[in-house]
């Protein structure tokens, strides 16, 4: 008994461990798998830009389908709009704020690239930034920090192809349908832009192309597809036959019942008599009512002091009130602008119109239908200090149109404090005499022009009006001799009472 038990236990362990019997061959089900056909990564030439940028993807003759992903590798939040075009027709789009992890809420981190409100006021005050789309701007008043936009597109705006691969988050994906054998291969283009310029320092855009192909030899996959199609057809026919048999069975079990006929005998003559009686009663009531009203009318006509008929004061007051009503109606007919005369319908129409104005004013501004025009080229004036940051010009979407805001240098206070501003080998020429135009606003002050050294020659930076920040006053730019060189102290706002 014990020997039998030991033998059985051993057999069980051996079977459980797979120690006996031949191994089953692993059957791979034919299916389509994807693989990366190629990827390109790009960097935007300008570190502050809004696009639009366009990448054309070389479509491949992928018989079993292909896909395209627009990728983004960014260290900060960007606001982007992206569309994918197949032979010029939009097939996919995305619009959101993204960071390294994908879609996020909030605003993009682009403070470095957009004009703050004081810069915008300065631009407005100097008349800049009123260019219609694609046109050169109205010549701005000469400005220390404001550069008027030239009338030609910037040549350096675009994308640079980079070598190597990166990892990023997918902005937009599109799966191209299977191509018909012999058909023309369509063109795939990806276009992306932003309404405000993004801070694109260390930002990379990538396009990953994915193709689909069978995981088994192609003839085997085709044979599998044919078998699958035949199998599906057989299954369909089998289902139809089963349904037919089931229907026949149901009809056999539920034969149609013979229809019953219900005969209702109505005495039409009796019904007509009842109807006539009801009608006569109704007429009698109406006649009695008319007679009662006539009697009351007659009574009231002969009793002008009856307050039950005419209310307080009798007929005399009643007639006077009627005259006052007529007087009011006459006044209102002649004075439709008087609010006391407006009917509820008049009020409703007016309130609708006025509420619509308020709602329109409070509604968020309509976003642009497409990307901004290509950025205008700017001639960057000589840098004012070692760490001055050039905020490039850009198109701002405001009041339903694109407006060009010119670029400007932002000089950090630390550069002025540490003397890291432009140095020149000699003193500048005498200051040019400028005639300021009339001030565009009382909140602005005239900031005089000054000479700037561009490493080879002197350049006159004309004066402009600028907004005066609260409790600050403008200290004009000046050149101070220091040893054998002259150092530029750029103009700046200093706090009244000392300190910057």
């Amino acid at each position: 008994m014990r020997r039998m038990f030991r033998t059985a236990l051993l057999a069980t362990v051996v079977m459980a461990c797979g120690g006996s019997g031949p191994k089953q061959p692993q059957v791979v089900e034919p299916r389509l798998i994807t693989s990366v056909a190629g990827q390109q990564w790009y960097r935007v030439r300008s570190t502050c830009a809004q696009g639009p940028y366009e990448i054309e993807i070389p479509a491949v003759d992928a018989k079993w389908g292909q896909g395209v992903d627009l990728m983004l590798a960014t260290p900060r939040k960007l606001a982007l709009h992206a569309v994918m075009l197949l032979d010029g027709v939009e097939v996919a789009s995305a619009s959101s704020v993204y960071d390294a992890s994908g879609r996020v809420d909030g605003k993009p981190d682009n403070a470095r690239c957009i004009a703050d409100v004081k810069e915008r006021l300065a631009l407005r005050a100097t008349g800049g930034g009123t260019a219609p789309p694609g046109q050169p701007g109205t010549p701005v008043q000469p400005g220390t920090l404001v550069v008027p936009p030239p009338d030609r597109p910037a040549p350096g705006v675009g994308l640079d192809l980079e070598t190597g691969t990166r990892t990023g988050t997918a902005l937009l994906s599109f799966q191209l349908p299977e191509l018909v054998v012999g058909a023309r291969i369509p063109k795939i283009r990806v276009r992306f832009w932003s309404i405000e310029p993004n801070d694109l320092l260390d930002v990379h855009f990538g396009v990953i192309q994915v193709i689909r192909h069978p995981n088994v030899p192609e003839d085997q996959y085709v044979a599998f597809l044919e078998w699958k199609a035949q199998e599906a057809e057989r299954s369909r026919l089998r289902l139809i036959e089963e349904q037919r048999i089931a229907d026949e069975e149901w009809r056999r079990k539920h034969p149609p019942k013979p229809q019953k006929t219900v005969t209702v005998y109505v005495d039409a003559r009796e019904e007509r008599a009842r109807e006539a009686e009801r009608e006569a009663a109704r007429r009698r009531r109406e006649a009695a009512e008319i007679e009662r009203a006539a009697r009351r009318h007659q009574h009231c006509a002969t009793h002008p002091r009856d307050t039950g008929c005419w209310g307080a004061g009798g007929l005399e007051v009643h007639l006077d009130l009627q005259r006052r009503i007529a007087e009011r109606d006459q006044y209102c007919a002649a004075h439709p602008e008087d609010a006391r005369c407006w009917s509820p319908d008049d009020w409703s129409k007016r309130r609708t119109a006025w509420n619509a104005r308020t709602q329109l004013a409070l509604a968020p501004p309509a976003p642009p239908a497409g990307p901004p025009p290509a950025a205008l080229a700017e001639e960057i004036p000589p840098k004012l200090s070692a760490h001055a940051d050039w905020r490039p010009g850009y198109w701002e979407w405001t009041s339903g149109r694109w407006v060009w805001l010119a670029g400007m240098w932002r000089v950090p206070d630390a550069d002025i404090a540490s003397g890291e501003t432009t140095t020149a080998p000699a003193a500048p020429p005498p200051v040019q005499v400028e005639t300021p135009p009339p001030p565009p606003a009382t909140a602005v002050v005239w900031v005089a022009g000054f000479w700037q050294w561009n490493s080879t020659s002197w350049v006159w930076i004309p004066g402009s009006y600028q907004l005066r920040p609260e409790r600050m006053q403008w200290r004009a730019a000046e050149w101070q001799p220091r040893g054998r060189v002259h150092v530029l102290i750029p103009g700046g706002w200093i706090r009244i009472g000392g300190g910057r």
């Binding site: 915008r120 005050a125 119109a353 006025w354 606003a441 909140a443 409790r471």
Partner: protein, 270 residues
């Protein structure tokens, strides 16, 4: 003490006759009118007026159902109110001391008389208080009985009354605020826009010319003095300029326009 309390209670629960006397003394007998018919006839001479208010402090959004105030500041906006002022002649016809009066005074007489009887018959340590209350009710019931028999009056009179009709609360088309010599359009919600807000803020810190509001070809200044500037600076910048002294200043300033009737109340197509 208890007697005084009972007297005060009886006084506060003034009876029908007492109420009638108070109404007569306060010239409010009109509330007793029945079967009222009133016709208001407009008197020509309407004034159309736009009042615009500028807040100097920061206003905060109200949280529906919340107990603590929101910390989200509302955007700066002017408040506009357009109204029409005029006079009406009101023709008033009514009955006084009619059937409703008879019914009310009759019921009140019975109720007061019953309460007075109960109070006067009360015994115990609060007897004095009850008797004082009962005496008051009895007296009131007696006068009420007299009022029951006042003959019905027919009233017909006319009075002139001032009418103020609020017309709209959006800011009208073409309104602008001149900050210095630059004009910033004011939208229907009373907002100046981001740049206008910045210019106003800059003006408040160093005002030069007046702030002038313009609408329908008329100009009116906002009267803003040191005190108002101080309120602005305190609220918007948490700064206390040297000139500011502790004191009371307005949290908003106002200006108004008188315009021809229909200038602001008209709507195209109506």
């Amino acid at each position: 003490m208890r007697a005084l309390f009972a007297l005060a209670l009886a006084g506060s629960m003034s009876g029908c006759a007492t109420s009638w006397i108070i109404t007569q003394a306060a010239d409010g007998a009109r509330i007793l009118d029945e079967g009222v018919r009133e016709v208001r006839v407009p008197v020509p001479g309407v004034q159309e007026k736009l009042a615009v208010s500028m807040p100097l402090g920061i206003e905060y959004a109200t949280v529906p159902g919340g107990t603590s105030p929101s910390t989200t500041p509302l955007p700066f906006q002017l408040t506009c109110r357009t109204e029409q002022r005029a006079k009406d002649v009101v023709y008033h016809s009514a009955f006084r001391y009619g059937s409703k009066w008879k019914l009310t005074s009759g019921v009140m007489f019975l109720v007061e008389a019953a309460l007075a009887a109960v109070s006067l018959a009360a015994e115990g340590k609060d007897k004095v208080a009850y008797q004082l209350g009962g005496a008051f009710l009895a007296a009131d019931a007696l006068v009420t009985a007299g009022l029951f028999f006042i003959p019905r009056k027919e009233i017909y009179r006319h009075d002139e009354a001032t009418t103020v009709t609020p017309v709209r609360s959006d800011c009208p088309d073409g309104m602008s605020l001149a900050i210095g010599s630059e004009k910033f359009p004011v939208d229907a919600a009373g907002r100046l826009g981001e740049v206008g807000d910045a210019a106003l803020d800059a003006w408040m810190s160093a005002p030069t010319n007046e702030l002038v509001l313009e609408v329908a070809g008329q100009q009116r200044p906002f009267q803003i003095g040191y005190g108002e500037q101080c309120v602005w600076m305190r609220e918007h910048h948490r700064e206390q300029p040297n000139r500011c002294t502790a004191g009371v200043a307005l949290r908003s300033v106002m200006t108004s326009f008188d315009v021809p009737v229909g200038t602001l109340s008209g709507v195209a197509g109506l």
